[in-house]
């Protein structure tokens, strides 16, 4: 179910501006890969190229290859909508659909893609909410609006919504930055459980978080504002935090930045 991602020589643009340059990396299946780096270095931009969400922004385009197992995501015959069904995403700020109940939020991905049948939907909703560690908290109020939950619960609802369509890969763009430490812990535990089934890529500003949850860590940096961001190095998280290969990584991790 989980798939490997192979990125080779990827450039990412906003119209004429090159935001990320020459990224080559491999994301292993059934593992957690963390992206760290200063603000504006292109981690989130790069993450969004992995499910073709980057091109939703006017002027957004990409050069290079992103292979999901044997399939190039940017091949001319590939439907971006199909890519996004395979590669799910969780955003920085919890964004449940405000017009929908908790149940409908989780079922949204299936319902909007034409899946019918109450029994099947019921199963998927329960399974996904259990997968997101939210079932026990909301099982008695599934028909209540999703926006009425707390921030941490909303984010887990969004994770449940993302895994309900059974993606192969789950991208997370700073999923805990709007949450308190307890909710953060809940999400981190959840990431640990999810990695047995999914390939997970997480962008984070919190280095302890990267160290806690990830198997591999990629460090992005940019030479100066206005210059494109680059992948500096990617390695086992242990190595990146204890014995990085590049001095810039060590400086960033130990706080001697700039």
């Amino acid at each position: 179910m989980a798939k490997r991602i192979d990125v080779s020589d990827l450039n990412v643009y906003y119209s004429a501006f090159k935001a990320v340059e020459g990224v080559t990396m491999t994301v292993e299946p059934r593992s957690v890969t963390a992206f760290i780096g200063p603000s504006g270095c292109g981690k989130s931009t790069f993450l969004r190229t992995l499910n073709r969400m980057h091109e939703v922004i006017p002027g957004g385009r990409v050069e290079g290859k992103v292979m999901l197992d044997d399939q190039d995501l940017y091949d001319s015959g590939v439907d971006p909508v199909a890519v996004r069904r395979t590669v799910g995403m969780v955003f920085q700020r919890p964004n449940p659909f405000p017009t929908m109940s908790i149940y409908d939020n989780v079922a949204a991905g299936l319902k909007l893609n034409g899946v019918k049948g109450k029994k099947r939907l019921d199963e998927v909703v329960e399974k996904s909410l259990q997968g997101a560690n939210l079932w026990n908290e909301v099982k008695d109020r599934l028909s209540k609006p999703g926006a009425g939950l707390s921030g941490g619960q909303q984010q887990r609802l969004c994770i449940a919504r993302a895994i309900a369509v059974e993606p192969q890969v789950l991208l997370m763009d700073e999923p805990c930055s709007a949450l308190d430490p307890i909710s953060t812990l809940a999400i981190e535990d959840l990431i640990g459980e999810l990695k047995s089934k999914y390939t997970i890529v997480i962008v984070t500003h919190n280095m302890q978080q990267a160290a806690r949850v990830s198997d591999r860590t990629a460090f992005f940096n940019l030479a100066a504002t206005g210059k494109p961001g680059k992948l500096i190095e990617i390695d086992d998280t242990q190595r990146i935090f204890n014995n990085p290969g590049v001095k810039a990584t060590e400086d960033y991790i130990s706080g001697r930045f700039g």
């Binding site: 499910n51 395979t86 955003f91 964004n95 659909f97 017009t99 109940s101 893609n113 919504r161």
Partner: protein, 314 residues
């Protein structure tokens, strides 16, 4: 010894100075706060004043129309009869012909303008990039500024002069459509822009195509706002008089066929009875005005009830 005393005194004086200056600073701060409190009060008074001032004509109109028009509305024949065969000299008769005409024309107009308006707004907000979008947006701006009599004359020129058709209720609707579309486009546009982009992205990220995202996520989120905009447009159109005078002058009998000749409406009834100096006609004018206000109010309430369903849940 002496030096140390001086040092101590200077130390004491310097240590006593800060509290004094702090005290000064705190009264200073208090002074500033008083200044701001005054401005706050002033702004409050001005705003309440403006609010009450704006309320005066509204209450005045409602009171005048209500007090002069209510007694005819209490009569059952007002809601059951037309003015057929009733001269300005005589009392009696009802407004059912005009009420039906206004409702039929208003709803037909809405039926044509709302889909066009909403689809245009969706194009402008969700799809429109580049030159075509700019042209469309500019055209809507121009249409917003078209005086209603010009819309009426335009349809007259098209319908009667060019195509040689008879003046019918549907021609009135076409003129009203021109007036309603820009209102619907602009208000829907504003509402769609208010839908956070995060919701669209959340939907895309689930592998939902763009059109379905618009239909199932964006439009429902903006639904109640869109309904409000449609109702505002409808209220404007139902009270519109100028195109009606050109395309559909007043008649006294019930005429419910949009393609079957002149159609009476409340605005034209008001205008007709205004020109009479006899009391029964004047009474009917006020009653018709009150009926129009109530009609718009009812439609608004109905719209609010409708927009409750499917709107953002709290």
């Amino acid at each position: 010894m002496t030096t140390s005393t001086t040092a101590t005194t200077s130390a004491t004086s310097s240590s006593t100075t800060p509290p004094a200056s702090r005290g000064g600073a705190s009264t200073d701060l208090g002074h500033k706060a008083r200044g701001r409190a005054f401005k706050d009060q002033l702004a409050r008074v001005v705003m309440w004043g403006a609010f009450l001032l704006a309320l005066v004509p509204l209450v005045w109109i409602l009171w005048t129309v209500g007090s002069k028009g209510y007694h005819l509305l209490l009569d059952a024949q007002w809601w059951g009869n037309s003015q057929r065969g009733i001269t300005a000299r005589r009392e009696g008769g009802g407004a059912v012909h005009a009420i039906q005409g206004t409702l039929i024309q208003g709803l037909t107009t809405a039926l044509i303008s709302v889909p066009i308006g909403i689809l245009t707004a969706i194009y402008l907000v969700e799809y429109g990039r580049g030159r075509l979008a700019k042209v469309v947006s500019f055209m809507v701006d121009i249409l917003t500024g078209v005086p209603s009599i010009v819309a009426g004359l335009f349809i007259y020129a098209l319908w009667v002069t060019t195509f040689k058709f008879q003046r019918v209720g549907f021609a009135v609707c076409l003129a009203l459509v021109l007036l309603m579309i820009p209102v619907v486009v602009r208000s829907t546009e504003e509402m769609l822009k208010l839908v956070p982009n995060e919701l669209r992205e959340a939907s895309y990220a689930l592998g939902v195509p763009k059109w379905k995202t618009i239909m199932r996520v964006v439009l429902p989120t903006a639904f109640s706002g869109i309904v409000t905009g449609v109702l505002l447009g409808l209220a404007r159109v139902m009270g519109e008089t100028a195109p009606l005078l050109i395309l559909g002058p007043y008649t006294k009998s019930i005429a419910n066929d949009l393609f079957g000749g002149l159609m009476p409406t409340l605005p034209t009834m008001i205008n007709q009875d205004r020109t009479e100096s006899l009391q029964p006609a004047v009474d009917r004018m006020w009653a018709a005005a009150l009926t129009l206000i109530l009609l718009v109010l009812l439609l608004n309430i109905a719209g609010r009830v409708v927009s409750r369903f499917g709107s953002v849940k709290k």
